[in-house]
Amino acid sequence: MATAAVAILKTSFAKAVQTGVPVSFFKVDDPAKVPGTPPGEIGTRSHFEKLIKKPSDISSRSPLQDFHGIITPSDLHFERHHNGVPAIDPATYKLVIHGMVERPVVFTLADLKRFPGVSRIAFLECSGNFRSGKEELSPQDICGLTSQSEWTGVRLSTLFREVGVRPGASWFLAEGGDAALMTRSIPVTKGWDDAIIAYAQNGEALRPEQGYPVRLFLPGWEGNTNVKWLRRLELGDSPWQTREETSKYTEGIRDGKIRQFSFDMDARSIITFPAFPATVERGWIEIKGLAWSGRGKVRKVEISTNGGKTWAIAELQEPVLDKAHVRFRYLWHWNGTETVISSRVTDDTGYTQPTMQQLLAARGPEMGGYHLNPVTGWLLKPDGRVLHKPESWR
């Protein structure tokens, strides 16, 4: 109890209130009398909640199984970097737009914020977002490289008009200001369509890991094209064939071919409860999870509780947004026998999330590791353990 009393003494008002209150007043068995944190400059998570990302040297995964909504708390947004996170001073930040334009322009951060703004809620997913191969994998391990935020910034179309994009310009190069100076070629049509030069995420400035102070945000497109720490856009009439669109972020398909510029993220879903490492009891279980499509809206999510033999429609939680994570739920009574549960999504283009076997059949034995979105199964054991049903494809 002594520690709790010290915490509250931090504010002078609380100190006055507490003077003369014996420490023994705080009864351990009455939570109403246990002081928590005082009003602060920033909020805190309850110390009972252990929400953590899983980092590697180059990435960090969102704890999908711990989320209850569609917005990823900014500090839990996944990360993928190509040479670390730079520390960019917003006061000296600039964005240069040049190439096939009437007027090459340098914008400061303050300049960008003066333009009419736009906000939208959309997911962002790395196209290398698939792990499998063992039973002890959580949603975070399998596909934690997807997250969702409200992104705010200026439409790229507004800046395109400002600089006067020339009619012959069909591609632009987006360059990051990280140590790797990472680059991707993007069709100009995406810039006119819905691209955002984003400076805010969930109502505040971007997190450094998300490209502070400015990133490119391309709704529905593979994570890598959403260039962070954006410093330069060059308009041109053909793609640059950068390393990240040739050596990486390309996938083997049939007949020895290699597919590139696979921009759209295919529709995908995953049950996040019950899922490893959770355990369950027989009886009523609300199966819950996330579904999304880079090509549009989620039309329906189906659930199978018998290893894919039959499927039933899950309820979609509003809002069901375009190119956004949607939550689904399905109420189910488990009788305690071993079974596999899984979800599959259909988007509004009519595309249905495939199984790993369907992906393999379509792409052939040379199938690469990018853009894998298979139906994911969870094995419920009679003792209540929930295990990933591993896929083998290599």
């Binding site: 340098v106 008009r161 360059e175 369509d193 950068t242 290699i258």
Partner: protein, 192 residues
């Protein structure tokens, strides 16, 4: 509805950019579909980029060689630089541990410059902007030409005596080039 349409077309007519669309239904006007507001032609925000602004950052290279600097390189000089600045991470023969760079005769399908890279210009661009990983941007254009020549040579793509420059580099034939196809999927019921 009628009132808002009227209001909108009034705004459209008053904005100079949209004169050409007078009488067009609002949802048919491209600018209005992209932006919910009626925008002026320009806001005149931002300052003109000077040639110096652009030169400082414009380091990208196109497959046709656009952007390649003056200078030239060869595999022999490249090997010495490679040993000093790259081999610690990529191995003396480009075998790794970090990304294998040189074709592995035992595993011809392993992704390397010789088996998977469709354009030789990408190599110059990537080495110059991103390598060495611990000191990117520290190489001179001359060193990058030498290193590019060394790695192309090690992959059997050029002769050991070849000179690489802004003309010859884009002309190097890359075995993986014909394998690359653009994504043609547009949604719908197919799995591809």
């Amino acid at each position: 509805m009628r009132i808002s349409l009227l209001l909108l077309s009034g705004l459209i007519l008053s904005g100079t950019v949209f004169r050409q669309y007078a009488g067009t239904r609002p949802e048919r006007i491209p600018a209005l579909r992209a932006d919910s507001l009626v925008l002026p032609a320009r806001f005149c925000i931002g300052r003109p980029a000077t040639p110096a602004d652009i030169r400082a950052w414009d380091i990208d290279i196109k497959p046709d060689g656009t952007g390649l600097p003056a200078g030239s390189g060869n595999a022999v000089s490249g090997q010495a630089i490679y040993r000093a600045k790259c081999a610690a991470c990529h191995g003396l023969q480009g075998e790794g541990p970090q990304n294998r760079l040189v074709r592995n005769p035992q595993k011809p399908k392993e992704k390397t410059i010789g088996t998977y890279w469709p354009y030789a210009t990408t190599l110059f661009d990537y080495i110059r902007r991103s390598m060495p990983f611990n000191a990117p941007g520290s190489l001179s254009d001359q060193e990058v030409y030498h290193l590019t020549a060394f790695l192309l040579r090690a992959n059997g793509l050029i002769d050991s005596t070849a000179t690489l420059n802004a003309k010859s580099l884009p002309a190097v034939s890359m075995p993986a080039r014909p394998l690359f196809v653009p994504d043609d999927r547009t949604g719908g019921a197919v799995v591809k």
